[in-house]
Protein backbone atom coordinates (compact mmCIF):
# COMPACT_ATOMS: atom_id res chain seq x y z
CA UNK A 1 0.00 0.00 0.00
CA UNK A 2 2.82 2.42 0.85
CA UNK A 3 4.33 1.44 -2.47
CA UNK A 4 1.09 2.45 -4.16
CA UNK A 5 1.03 5.80 -2.33
CA UNK A 6 4.63 6.45 -3.32
CA UNK A 7 3.68 5.75 -6.86
CA UNK A 8 0.83 8.24 -6.80
CA UNK A 9 3.04 10.80 -5.12
CA UNK A 10 5.65 10.63 -7.87
CA UNK A 11 2.96 10.75 -10.51
CA UNK A 12 1.47 13.82 -8.92
CA UNK A 13 4.83 15.58 -8.62
CA UNK A 14 5.72 14.75 -12.22
CA UNK A 15 2.40 16.09 -13.44
CA UNK A 16 2.81 19.24 -11.39
CA UNK A 17 6.30 19.82 -12.80
CA UNK A 18 4.99 19.58 -16.36
CA UNK A 19 2.11 21.91 -15.52
CA UNK A 20 4.32 24.69 -14.16
CA UNK A 21 7.16 24.13 -16.63
CA UNK A 22 6.00 26.78 -19.18
CA UNK A 23 6.44 29.46 -16.53
CA UNK A 24 10.16 28.75 -16.51
CA UNK A 25 10.69 28.34 -20.22
CA UNK A 26 10.50 31.42 -22.35
CA UNK A 27 11.82 29.86 -25.55
CA UNK A 28 9.09 29.18 -28.04
CA UNK A 29 11.27 26.45 -29.53
CA UNK A 30 11.41 24.37 -26.36
CA UNK A 31 7.70 24.75 -25.76
CA UNK A 32 7.06 23.51 -29.29
CA UNK A 33 9.37 20.53 -28.87
CA UNK A 34 7.68 19.59 -25.60
CA UNK A 35 4.26 19.96 -27.20
CA UNK A 36 5.34 17.63 -29.95
CA UNK A 37 6.72 15.16 -27.39
CA UNK A 38 3.38 15.07 -25.54
CA UNK A 39 1.51 14.72 -28.81
CA UNK A 40 3.67 11.80 -29.95
CA UNK A 41 3.53 10.22 -26.50
CA UNK A 42 -0.26 10.48 -26.65
CA UNK A 43 -0.41 8.79 -30.04
CA UNK A 44 2.13 6.21 -28.86
CA UNK A 45 -0.10 5.49 -25.88
CA UNK A 46 -3.05 4.87 -28.17
CA UNK A 47 -0.91 2.39 -30.11
CA UNK A 48 0.29 0.92 -26.82
CA UNK A 49 -3.23 -0.05 -25.72
CA UNK A 50 -3.79 -2.25 -28.76
CA UNK A 51 -0.15 -3.19 -29.43
CA UNK A 52 1.51 -3.22 -26.03
CA UNK A 53 -1.36 -4.52 -23.93
CA UNK A 54 -3.55 -6.53 -26.31
CA UNK A 55 -0.57 -7.62 -28.42
CA UNK A 56 -2.11 -6.63 -31.76
CA UNK A 57 0.49 -4.67 -33.70
CA UNK A 58 -1.03 -2.15 -36.03
CA UNK A 59 0.93 -0.51 -38.77
CA UNK A 60 -1.71 1.95 -39.82
CA UNK A 61 -2.49 3.78 -36.60
CA UNK A 62 -2.49 7.04 -38.52
CA UNK A 63 -5.89 6.18 -40.03
CA UNK A 64 -7.67 7.22 -36.84
CA UNK A 65 -5.66 10.40 -36.58
CA UNK A 66 -6.39 11.35 -40.18
CA UNK A 67 -10.06 10.49 -39.95
CA UNK A 68 -10.48 12.49 -36.76
CA UNK A 69 -8.69 15.43 -38.34
CA UNK A 70 -10.96 15.34 -41.37
CA UNK A 71 -14.13 14.92 -39.32
CA UNK A 72 -13.65 18.03 -37.20
CA UNK A 73 -12.06 20.07 -40.00
CA UNK A 74 -14.75 19.33 -42.56
CA UNK A 75 -17.42 20.07 -39.96
CA UNK A 76 -15.68 23.37 -39.29
CA UNK A 77 -15.08 24.46 -42.88
CA UNK A 78 -18.42 23.37 -44.32
CA UNK A 79 -20.84 23.91 -41.45
CA UNK A 80 -18.91 26.22 -39.16
CA UNK A 81 -19.18 23.60 -36.45
CA UNK A 82 -16.90 24.65 -33.56
CA UNK A 83 -13.98 22.25 -33.03
CA UNK A 84 -14.50 22.15 -29.28
CA UNK A 85 -17.56 20.03 -30.08
CA UNK A 86 -16.07 18.74 -33.31
CA UNK A 87 -13.36 16.98 -31.35
CA UNK A 88 -15.98 14.74 -29.78
CA UNK A 89 -17.30 13.80 -33.19
CA UNK A 90 -13.70 13.16 -34.25
CA UNK A 91 -13.41 10.83 -31.25
CA UNK A 92 -16.62 9.08 -32.26
CA UNK A 93 -15.42 8.88 -35.86
CA UNK A 94 -12.13 7.33 -34.80
CA UNK A 95 -13.86 4.82 -32.55
CA UNK A 96 -16.31 3.94 -35.31
CA UNK A 97 -13.48 3.39 -37.77
CA UNK A 98 -11.85 1.21 -35.12
CA UNK A 99 -15.05 -0.79 -34.85
CA UNK A 100 -15.15 -1.39 -38.60
CA UNK A 101 -11.47 -2.25 -39.01
CA UNK A 102 -11.45 -4.30 -35.80
CA UNK A 103 -14.57 -6.24 -36.63
CA UNK A 104 -13.45 -7.02 -40.15
CA UNK A 105 -9.90 -8.08 -39.33
CA UNK A 106 -10.36 -9.77 -35.94
CA UNK A 107 -13.54 -11.50 -37.06
CA UNK A 108 -11.61 -13.18 -39.82
CA UNK A 109 -8.92 -14.15 -37.36
CA UNK A 110 -6.09 -11.94 -38.59
CA UNK A 111 -3.16 -11.89 -36.22
CA UNK A 112 0.46 -10.80 -36.14
CA UNK A 113 1.92 -9.51 -39.37
CA UNK A 114 -1.35 -10.06 -41.22
CA UNK A 115 -3.15 -7.71 -38.90
CA UNK A 116 -0.29 -5.21 -39.20
CA UNK A 117 -0.52 -5.33 -42.98
CA UNK A 118 -4.28 -5.00 -43.11
CA UNK A 119 -4.16 -1.88 -40.95
CA UNK A 120 -1.50 -0.47 -43.26
CA UNK A 121 -3.77 -1.24 -46.18
CA UNK A 122 -6.71 0.51 -44.52
CA UNK A 123 -4.63 3.62 -43.91
CA UNK A 124 -3.42 3.67 -47.50
CA UNK A 125 -6.94 3.09 -48.77
CA UNK A 126 -8.20 6.06 -46.78
CA UNK A 127 -5.35 8.22 -48.08
CA UNK A 128 -6.24 7.41 -51.68
CA UNK A 129 -9.92 7.96 -50.93
CA UNK A 130 -9.28 11.30 -49.28
CA UNK A 131 -7.31 12.28 -52.36
CA UNK A 132 -10.07 11.47 -54.78
CA UNK A 133 -13.27 12.64 -53.12
CA UNK A 134 -14.40 16.21 -53.11
CA UNK A 135 -15.45 16.96 -49.55
CA UNK A 136 -11.95 16.47 -48.18
CA UNK A 137 -10.63 19.10 -50.54
CA UNK A 138 -8.84 16.36 -52.44
CA UNK A 139 -5.17 16.84 -53.16
CA UNK A 140 -5.43 20.60 -52.61
CA UNK A 141 -6.19 20.02 -48.98
CA UNK A 142 -8.19 21.90 -46.40
CA UNK A 143 -7.20 25.31 -45.10
CA UNK A 144 -8.48 26.27 -41.70
CA UNK A 145 -8.68 29.90 -40.66
CA UNK A 146 -6.72 31.15 -37.71
CA UNK A 147 -9.15 32.44 -35.12
CA UNK A 148 -7.79 31.85 -31.65
CA UNK A 149 -10.32 30.97 -29.02
CA UNK A 150 -11.29 28.03 -26.92
CA UNK A 151 -14.25 27.14 -29.12
CA UNK A 152 -11.83 26.79 -32.03
CA UNK A 153 -9.27 24.95 -29.89
CA UNK A 154 -6.74 27.45 -31.16
CA UNK A 155 -4.49 29.51 -28.96
CA UNK A 156 -2.55 32.72 -29.35
CA UNK A 157 0.59 31.37 -27.77
CA UNK A 158 2.38 28.05 -28.11
CA UNK A 159 1.77 27.59 -24.38
CA UNK A 160 -1.92 27.10 -25.11
CA UNK A 161 -1.15 24.18 -27.38
CA UNK A 162 1.37 22.94 -24.82
CA UNK A 163 -1.44 22.57 -22.30
CA UNK A 164 -3.80 21.10 -24.87
CA UNK A 165 -1.24 18.37 -25.68
CA UNK A 166 -0.43 17.91 -22.00
CA UNK A 167 -4.09 17.34 -21.15
CA UNK A 168 -4.41 14.80 -23.96
CA UNK A 169 -1.32 13.01 -22.64
CA UNK A 170 -2.59 13.04 -19.05
CA UNK A 171 -5.87 11.52 -20.23
CA UNK A 172 -4.02 8.80 -22.12
CA UNK A 173 -1.93 7.97 -19.06
CA UNK A 174 -5.07 7.89 -16.93
CA UNK A 175 -6.65 5.44 -19.38
CA UNK A 176 -3.67 3.10 -19.23
CA UNK A 177 -3.39 3.54 -15.47
CA UNK A 178 -6.98 2.33 -15.22
CA UNK A 179 -6.23 -0.48 -17.68
CA UNK A 180 -3.42 -1.79 -15.49
CA UNK A 181 -5.80 -2.18 -12.59
CA UNK A 182 -8.94 -3.35 -14.31
CA UNK A 183 -10.39 -6.60 -15.49
CA UNK A 184 -10.42 -5.32 -19.06
CA UNK A 185 -6.68 -4.66 -18.92
CA UNK A 186 -6.01 -8.11 -17.50
CA UNK A 187 -8.07 -9.63 -20.28
CA UNK A 188 -6.15 -7.72 -22.94
CA UNK A 189 -2.85 -8.89 -21.49
CA UNK A 190 -4.14 -12.46 -21.35
CA UNK A 191 -4.99 -12.20 -25.06
CA UNK A 192 -1.51 -10.86 -25.76
CA UNK A 193 0.14 -13.71 -23.88
CA UNK A 194 -2.01 -16.57 -25.15
CA UNK A 195 -5.21 -16.08 -27.06
CA UNK A 196 -6.44 -19.70 -26.90
CA UNK A 197 -5.95 -19.89 -23.16
CA UNK A 198 -7.70 -16.55 -22.77
CA UNK A 199 -10.67 -17.81 -24.76
CA UNK A 200 -10.78 -21.03 -22.73
CA UNK A 201 -10.93 -19.01 -19.53
CA UNK A 202 -14.09 -17.25 -20.57
CA UNK A 203 -12.70 -14.15 -22.25
CA UNK A 204 -14.58 -12.96 -25.31
CA UNK A 205 -11.38 -12.30 -27.20
CA UNK A 206 -13.08 -10.85 -30.27
CA UNK A 207 -15.03 -8.32 -28.23
CA UNK A 208 -12.01 -7.33 -26.14
CA UNK A 209 -9.81 -6.77 -29.17
CA UNK A 210 -12.51 -4.68 -30.85
CA UNK A 211 -12.92 -2.55 -27.71
CA UNK A 212 -9.16 -2.05 -27.62
CA UNK A 213 -8.95 -0.87 -31.22
CA UNK A 214 -11.97 1.38 -30.61
CA UNK A 215 -10.18 3.04 -27.70
CA UNK A 216 -7.15 3.49 -29.91
CA UNK A 217 -9.37 4.93 -32.64
CA UNK A 218 -11.10 7.34 -30.27
CA UNK A 219 -7.75 8.61 -29.00
CA UNK A 220 -6.38 8.96 -32.52
CA UNK A 221 -9.47 10.94 -33.53
CA UNK A 222 -8.86 13.55 -30.83
CA UNK A 223 -5.21 13.80 -31.89
CA UNK A 224 -6.38 14.60 -35.41
CA UNK A 225 -8.41 17.57 -34.25
CA UNK A 226 -5.49 18.81 -32.19
CA UNK A 227 -3.16 18.64 -35.17
CA UNK A 228 -5.57 20.32 -37.57
CA UNK A 229 -6.24 23.22 -35.20
CA UNK A 230 -2.54 23.66 -34.51
CA UNK A 231 -1.20 23.54 -38.05
CA UNK A 232 -4.35 24.77 -39.85
CA UNK A 233 -3.75 22.70 -42.92
CA UNK A 234 -4.66 19.17 -43.85
CA UNK A 235 -4.12 17.12 -46.97
CA UNK A 236 -4.17 13.35 -47.57
CA UNK A 237 -0.39 12.80 -47.31
CA UNK A 238 -0.35 14.55 -43.94
CA UNK A 239 -3.56 13.03 -42.62
CA UNK A 240 -2.63 9.49 -43.55
CA UNK A 241 1.17 9.58 -43.48
CA UNK A 242 2.94 6.29 -42.90
CA UNK A 243 5.56 8.27 -41.04
CA UNK A 244 3.16 8.97 -38.19
CA UNK A 245 2.05 5.32 -38.04
CA UNK A 246 5.69 4.36 -37.64
CA UNK A 247 6.41 7.07 -35.14
CA UNK A 248 3.66 6.01 -32.74
CA UNK A 249 4.87 2.45 -32.66
CA UNK A 250 8.50 3.50 -32.54
CA UNK A 251 8.19 5.67 -29.45
CA UNK A 252 6.30 2.89 -27.73
CA UNK A 253 8.75 0.15 -28.65
CA UNK A 254 11.76 2.28 -27.72
CA UNK A 255 10.18 3.34 -24.46
CA UNK A 256 8.69 -0.03 -23.58
CA UNK A 257 5.57 -1.74 -24.84
CA UNK A 258 2.86 -2.59 -22.38
CA UNK A 259 4.08 -0.09 -19.79
CA UNK A 260 2.36 3.08 -18.61
CA UNK A 261 5.26 5.42 -19.28
CA UNK A 262 6.88 3.67 -22.22
CA UNK A 263 5.40 5.97 -24.89
CA UNK A 264 6.28 9.12 -22.95
CA UNK A 265 9.86 7.99 -22.28
CA UNK A 266 10.24 6.89 -25.89
CA UNK A 267 8.83 10.12 -27.27
CA UNK A 268 11.06 12.17 -25.01
CA UNK A 269 14.23 10.26 -25.88
CA UNK A 270 13.61 10.08 -29.62
CA UNK A 271 12.64 13.72 -29.98
CA UNK A 272 15.56 14.85 -27.85
CA UNK A 273 18.03 12.73 -29.79
CA UNK A 274 16.55 14.00 -33.01
CA UNK A 275 16.79 17.66 -31.98
CA UNK A 276 20.32 17.28 -30.64
CA UNK A 277 21.47 15.51 -33.77
CA UNK A 278 19.93 18.27 -35.88
CA UNK A 279 21.44 20.98 -33.76
CA UNK A 280 25.03 19.77 -33.66
CA UNK A 281 25.41 18.23 -37.07
CA UNK A 282 25.45 20.59 -40.00
CA UNK A 283 25.96 18.16 -42.84
CA UNK A 284 22.51 17.58 -44.30
CA UNK A 285 21.22 14.07 -43.79
CA UNK A 286 23.95 13.10 -41.33
CA UNK A 287 21.71 13.84 -38.36
CA UNK A 288 19.23 11.30 -39.66
CA UNK A 289 21.99 8.71 -39.85
CA UNK A 290 23.01 9.39 -36.25
CA UNK A 291 19.37 9.20 -35.22
CA UNK A 292 19.04 5.87 -37.04
CA UNK A 293 22.17 4.48 -35.42
CA UNK A 294 20.96 5.34 -31.94
CA UNK A 295 17.67 3.68 -32.78
CA UNK A 296 19.44 0.51 -33.87
CA UNK A 297 21.43 0.44 -30.64
CA UNK A 298 18.33 0.92 -28.48
CA UNK A 299 16.26 -1.70 -30.26
CA UNK A 300 19.15 -4.14 -30.61
CA UNK A 301 20.31 -4.01 -27.01
CA UNK A 302 17.11 -3.21 -25.18
CA UNK A 303 14.45 -5.50 -26.61
CA UNK A 304 12.08 -4.51 -23.82
CA UNK A 305 12.57 -0.82 -24.31
CA UNK A 306 14.13 1.73 -22.00
CA UNK A 307 11.59 1.06 -19.25
CA UNK A 308 12.30 -2.66 -19.53
CA UNK A 309 16.03 -2.08 -19.11
CA UNK A 310 15.37 0.05 -16.10
CA UNK A 311 12.99 -2.46 -14.58
CA UNK A 312 15.42 -5.32 -14.85
CA UNK A 313 17.36 -3.72 -12.06
CA UNK A 314 14.40 -3.55 -9.79
CA UNK A 315 14.03 -6.63 -7.64
CA UNK A 316 10.38 -7.28 -7.57
CA UNK A 317 7.63 -5.14 -8.92
CA UNK A 318 4.13 -4.85 -7.60
CA UNK A 319 2.81 -8.31 -8.31
CA UNK A 320 -0.59 -7.25 -9.50
CA UNK A 321 0.64 -4.66 -11.94
CA UNK A 322 0.26 -5.85 -15.48
CA UNK A 323 3.53 -4.41 -16.70
CA UNK A 324 5.18 -6.84 -19.02
CA UNK A 325 7.56 -8.85 -16.91
CA UNK A 326 11.00 -8.57 -18.30
CA UNK A 327 13.16 -10.63 -16.02
CA UNK A 328 13.20 -14.37 -16.17
CA UNK A 329 13.21 -15.83 -12.69
CA UNK A 330 14.22 -19.42 -12.39
CA UNK A 331 12.60 -21.58 -9.76
Amino acid sequence: MTNFRNHLYFLFMGALALIILPYFISSRFYIDVLTLIFFTAYLGQSWNILGGYAGQFSFGGVMFFGTGAYVSSILLTTFGFPPIFGIFLAILGGAFLGLIVGYMSFRSGLRGSYFALITLAFAELLRVLANSVEFTGGGVGLFLTYAPGLSNLQFETPVGFYYFALILMFISIAIVYWLERSRFGAQLVAIRENEDAAEALGINTLKCKIYAIMIMGAMGGAAGTFYAQKYLYLDPPIAYSIHLSVEMLLVTIVGGMGTIFGPLVGAFVLHTVNEIARHFIDTPGLSLIVYGLILIVIIGYLPNGLIGAFKKKEKKSDSTSLDKKTSREDP
Binding site: R181, S182, R183, A186, Q187, V189, A190, R192, E193, N194, D196, A197, A198, E199, A200, L201, G202, I203, N204, T205, K316, S319, T320, L322, K324, K325, S327, R328, E329, D330, P331
Partner: protein
Protein backbone atom coordinates in the same frame (compact mmCIF):
# COMPACT_ATOMS: atom_id res chain seq x y z
CA UNK B 1 -24.33 -33.22 -16.75
CA UNK B 2 -22.41 -33.68 -19.99
CA UNK B 3 -23.89 -35.75 -22.78
CA UNK B 4 -22.01 -36.48 -25.96
CA UNK B 5 -24.22 -38.06 -28.56
CA UNK B 6 -23.04 -39.67 -31.77
CA UNK B 7 -20.29 -37.10 -32.30
CA UNK B 8 -18.06 -37.32 -35.35
CA UNK B 9 -15.14 -35.19 -36.48
CA UNK B 10 -13.33 -35.51 -39.78
CA UNK B 11 -10.12 -33.85 -40.90
CA UNK B 12 -10.22 -34.30 -44.64
CA UNK B 13 -10.33 -38.04 -45.20
CA UNK B 14 -9.29 -38.89 -41.66
CA UNK B 15 -12.05 -39.65 -39.21
CA UNK B 16 -10.55 -38.45 -35.95
CA UNK B 17 -13.61 -39.12 -33.81
CA UNK B 18 -16.31 -41.44 -35.02
CA UNK B 19 -19.86 -41.61 -33.59
CA UNK B 20 -18.86 -41.31 -29.98
CA UNK B 21 -21.46 -41.45 -27.19
CA UNK B 22 -20.57 -40.74 -23.65
CA UNK B 23 -21.96 -39.24 -20.51
CA UNK B 24 -20.57 -37.60 -17.42
CA UNK B 25 -22.81 -37.36 -14.38
CA UNK B 26 -22.67 -34.83 -11.60
CA UNK B 27 -19.98 -35.35 -8.96
CA UNK B 28 -18.25 -38.06 -10.95
CA UNK B 29 -14.65 -38.35 -12.00
CA UNK B 30 -14.75 -39.85 -15.46
CA UNK B 31 -11.66 -40.60 -17.47
CA UNK B 32 -11.04 -40.99 -21.15
CA UNK B 33 -8.09 -43.15 -22.09
CA UNK B 34 -6.65 -44.52 -25.30
CA UNK B 35 -3.43 -44.82 -27.25
CA UNK B 36 -1.77 -41.81 -28.84
CA UNK B 37 -3.73 -40.43 -31.75
CA UNK B 38 -6.97 -42.05 -30.62
CA UNK B 39 -8.85 -38.73 -30.82
CA UNK B 40 -9.10 -37.90 -27.14
CA UNK B 41 -7.91 -34.32 -27.38
CA UNK B 42 -10.02 -33.77 -30.50
CA UNK B 43 -13.07 -34.89 -28.55
CA UNK B 44 -12.19 -32.52 -25.72
CA UNK B 45 -11.67 -29.68 -28.15
CA UNK B 46 -15.16 -30.24 -29.56
CA UNK B 47 -16.75 -30.39 -26.14
CA UNK B 48 -15.06 -27.14 -25.10
CA UNK B 49 -15.99 -25.36 -28.31
CA UNK B 50 -12.53 -25.13 -29.89
CA UNK B 51 -13.49 -27.41 -32.76
CA UNK B 52 -16.81 -27.82 -34.46
CA UNK B 53 -18.25 -31.32 -34.53
CA UNK B 54 -19.26 -32.51 -38.00
CA UNK B 55 -22.10 -34.62 -36.65
CA UNK B 56 -23.88 -35.32 -33.41
CA UNK B 57 -24.99 -33.47 -30.31
CA UNK B 58 -23.14 -32.17 -27.29
CA UNK B 59 -25.29 -31.17 -24.35
CA UNK B 60 -24.15 -29.54 -21.14
CA UNK B 61 -26.67 -29.23 -18.34
CA UNK B 62 -29.40 -30.33 -20.77
CA UNK B 63 -28.74 -27.59 -23.30
CA UNK B 64 -26.83 -27.90 -26.53
CA UNK B 65 -23.44 -26.22 -26.60
CA UNK B 66 -22.86 -27.01 -30.25
CA UNK B 67 -21.63 -23.97 -32.14
CA UNK B 68 -20.88 -21.99 -29.01
CA UNK B 69 -17.57 -20.21 -28.56
CA UNK B 70 -15.17 -21.47 -25.87
CA UNK B 71 -15.68 -18.36 -23.75
CA UNK B 72 -19.44 -18.87 -23.79
CA UNK B 73 -19.04 -22.49 -22.75
CA UNK B 74 -16.70 -21.39 -19.99
CA UNK B 75 -19.33 -18.96 -18.75
CA UNK B 76 -21.79 -21.86 -18.57
CA UNK B 77 -19.42 -23.63 -16.21
CA UNK B 78 -17.41 -26.01 -18.35
CA UNK B 79 -13.74 -25.22 -18.71
CA UNK B 80 -10.82 -27.08 -20.20
CA UNK B 81 -7.10 -27.22 -19.54
CA UNK B 82 -4.52 -27.81 -22.23
CA UNK B 83 -2.33 -30.86 -22.64
CA UNK B 84 0.48 -28.65 -23.83
CA UNK B 85 0.37 -26.07 -21.08
CA UNK B 86 -0.55 -22.59 -22.22
CA UNK B 87 0.51 -20.24 -19.44
CA UNK B 88 0.39 -16.46 -19.83
CA UNK B 89 4.16 -16.56 -19.81
CA UNK B 90 4.82 -12.88 -19.24
CA UNK B 91 2.67 -12.76 -16.12
CA UNK B 92 3.09 -14.00 -12.57
CA UNK B 93 1.28 -17.04 -11.22
CA UNK B 94 -1.11 -14.78 -9.35
CA UNK B 95 -1.92 -12.76 -12.48
CA UNK B 96 -2.46 -15.97 -14.42
CA UNK B 97 -4.97 -17.28 -11.92
CA UNK B 98 -6.64 -13.88 -11.65
CA UNK B 99 -7.47 -14.00 -15.36
CA UNK B 100 -9.56 -17.06 -14.60
CA UNK B 101 -11.11 -15.43 -11.56
CA UNK B 102 -12.11 -12.38 -13.61
CA UNK B 103 -14.64 -14.51 -15.46
CA UNK B 104 -16.98 -14.09 -12.51
CA UNK B 105 -16.13 -10.67 -11.19
CA UNK B 106 -14.87 -7.38 -12.52
CA UNK B 107 -13.54 -6.37 -9.11
CA UNK B 108 -9.76 -6.61 -8.85
CA UNK B 109 -9.69 -7.25 -5.12
CA UNK B 110 -12.29 -10.02 -5.34
CA UNK B 111 -10.39 -11.59 -8.22
CA UNK B 112 -7.17 -11.51 -6.21
CA UNK B 113 -8.81 -13.07 -3.17
CA UNK B 114 -10.31 -15.79 -5.32
CA UNK B 115 -6.96 -16.43 -7.01
CA UNK B 116 -5.18 -16.74 -3.67
CA UNK B 117 -7.85 -19.13 -2.47
CA UNK B 118 -7.49 -21.31 -5.55
CA UNK B 119 -3.70 -21.21 -5.29
CA UNK B 120 -4.04 -22.68 -1.83
CA UNK B 121 -6.23 -25.52 -3.14
CA UNK B 122 -3.67 -26.52 -5.76
CA UNK B 123 -0.70 -25.81 -3.52
CA UNK B 124 0.81 -22.86 -5.34
CA UNK B 125 0.67 -20.25 -2.61
CA UNK B 126 4.45 -19.95 -2.38
CA UNK B 127 4.74 -19.44 -6.14
CA UNK B 128 2.19 -16.65 -6.48
CA UNK B 129 4.65 -13.91 -7.30
CA UNK B 130 6.82 -15.99 -9.53
CA UNK B 131 6.75 -15.51 -13.27
CA UNK B 132 4.81 -18.25 -15.04
CA UNK B 133 7.63 -18.74 -17.52
CA UNK B 134 9.90 -19.84 -14.67
CA UNK B 135 7.63 -22.61 -13.40
CA UNK B 136 8.60 -26.28 -13.62
CA UNK B 137 6.51 -28.69 -15.68
CA UNK B 138 4.65 -29.72 -12.55
CA UNK B 139 4.13 -26.07 -11.69
CA UNK B 140 2.71 -25.33 -15.12
CA UNK B 141 0.31 -28.25 -14.93
CA UNK B 142 -0.91 -26.99 -11.59
CA UNK B 143 -1.25 -23.52 -13.01
CA UNK B 144 -3.48 -24.85 -15.79
CA UNK B 145 -5.60 -26.47 -13.11
CA UNK B 146 -5.65 -23.37 -10.94
CA UNK B 147 -6.65 -21.01 -13.72
CA UNK B 148 -9.49 -23.29 -14.77
CA UNK B 149 -10.60 -23.72 -11.19
CA UNK B 150 -10.65 -19.96 -10.65
CA UNK B 151 -13.48 -19.65 -13.19
CA UNK B 152 -15.71 -21.55 -10.73
CA UNK B 153 -16.55 -24.39 -13.09
CA UNK B 154 -19.22 -27.04 -12.66
CA UNK B 155 -17.31 -29.40 -14.92
CA UNK B 156 -13.55 -29.46 -15.39
CA UNK B 157 -12.05 -30.96 -18.51
CA UNK B 158 -8.48 -31.96 -17.70
CA UNK B 159 -6.27 -32.89 -20.62
CA UNK B 160 -3.33 -34.96 -19.38
CA UNK B 161 -2.50 -32.95 -16.31
CA UNK B 162 -0.11 -35.67 -15.18
CA UNK B 163 1.91 -36.17 -18.33
CA UNK B 164 5.58 -35.52 -17.72
CA UNK B 165 5.34 -35.62 -13.94
CA UNK B 166 7.34 -37.91 -11.65
CA UNK B 167 5.56 -40.37 -9.32
CA UNK B 168 5.69 -38.09 -6.30
CA UNK B 169 4.28 -35.19 -8.29
CA UNK B 170 1.56 -37.47 -9.64
CA UNK B 171 0.55 -38.52 -6.13
CA UNK B 172 0.35 -34.86 -5.19
CA UNK B 173 -1.82 -33.87 -8.11
CA UNK B 174 -4.12 -36.88 -7.62
CA UNK B 175 -4.75 -35.59 -4.13
CA UNK B 176 -5.47 -32.14 -5.52
CA UNK B 177 -7.95 -33.53 -8.06
CA UNK B 178 -9.74 -35.54 -5.41
CA UNK B 179 -9.92 -32.39 -3.31
CA UNK B 180 -11.48 -30.55 -6.23
CA UNK B 181 -14.12 -33.25 -6.62
CA UNK B 182 -14.90 -33.01 -2.92
CA UNK B 183 -15.69 -29.34 -3.49
CA UNK B 184 -18.56 -30.47 -5.71
CA UNK B 185 -16.90 -30.12 -9.09
CA UNK B 186 -17.38 -32.81 -11.70
CA UNK B 187 -14.24 -33.92 -13.50
CA UNK B 188 -13.73 -35.39 -16.93
CA UNK B 189 -10.11 -36.18 -17.66
CA UNK B 190 -7.88 -37.52 -20.38
CA UNK B 191 -5.00 -39.48 -18.94
CA UNK B 192 -2.17 -41.77 -19.89
CA UNK B 193 -0.91 -42.53 -16.42
CA UNK B 194 -2.80 -45.76 -15.70
CA UNK B 195 -2.11 -45.81 -12.00
CA UNK B 196 -3.76 -42.44 -11.64
CA UNK B 197 -6.69 -43.44 -13.83
CA UNK B 198 -7.34 -46.54 -11.71
CA UNK B 199 -6.97 -44.59 -8.55
CA UNK B 200 -9.08 -41.60 -9.50
CA UNK B 201 -11.89 -42.45 -11.82
CA UNK B 202 -15.35 -43.73 -11.09
CA UNK B 203 -15.79 -44.67 -14.71
CA UNK B 204 -13.57 -44.90 -17.76
CA UNK B 205 -14.11 -44.65 -21.48
CA UNK B 206 -11.57 -46.09 -23.91
CA UNK B 207 -11.09 -44.51 -27.28
CA UNK B 208 -9.17 -46.18 -30.09
CA UNK B 209 -8.90 -44.96 -33.67
CA UNK B 210 -11.68 -42.47 -32.98
CA UNK B 211 -14.13 -45.11 -31.75
CA UNK B 212 -15.22 -45.99 -28.25
CA UNK B 213 -14.18 -49.57 -27.63
CA UNK B 214 -15.00 -49.98 -23.98
CA UNK B 215 -16.44 -48.28 -20.95
CA UNK B 216 -17.11 -49.10 -17.32
CA UNK B 217 -15.22 -49.18 -14.06
CA UNK B 218 -11.47 -48.79 -14.46
CA UNK B 219 -10.73 -52.37 -13.38
CA UNK B 220 -13.27 -53.93 -15.74
CA UNK B 221 -11.92 -51.85 -18.59
CA UNK B 222 -8.37 -52.89 -17.84
CA UNK B 223 -9.32 -56.52 -18.25
CA UNK B 224 -11.20 -56.00 -21.47
CA UNK B 225 -9.39 -57.91 -24.27
CA UNK B 226 -10.16 -55.22 -26.83
CA UNK B 227 -8.50 -52.61 -24.64
CA UNK B 228 -5.43 -54.74 -24.13
CA UNK B 229 -5.13 -55.26 -27.87
CA UNK B 230 -5.51 -51.58 -28.54
CA UNK B 231 -2.62 -50.82 -26.23
CA UNK B 232 -0.35 -53.80 -26.76
CA UNK B 233 -1.16 -54.90 -30.30
CA UNK B 234 -3.02 -57.71 -31.99
CA UNK B 235 -2.90 -61.02 -30.18
CA UNK B 236 -1.70 -59.50 -26.94
CA UNK B 237 -4.88 -60.37 -25.07
CA UNK B 238 -4.61 -64.04 -25.97
CA UNK B 239 -0.96 -64.14 -25.11
CA UNK B 240 -1.65 -62.64 -21.73
CA UNK B 241 -4.50 -65.08 -21.09
CA UNK B 242 -2.30 -68.01 -21.94
CA UNK B 243 0.65 -66.71 -19.98
CA UNK B 244 -1.19 -66.22 -16.81
Amino acid sequence: MLKVNNVTKRFGGLVAVSSVDLEVNEQEIVSLIGPNGAGKTTLFAMVAGFLKADEGRIDFKNASVLGMKPHQICQLGMVRTFQITQPFAGLTTLQNIMVGAYSNTSDTDLARTKAEEVAEVVGMTSLLNQGADGLTVAGRKRLELARALATDPKLLLLDEVMAGLNPTEIDDIVKVIKGIRDRGITIFLIEHVMKAVMNLSDRTYVLNDGKLIASGTPSSVAENPQVIEAYLGHGAAEAMAEGG
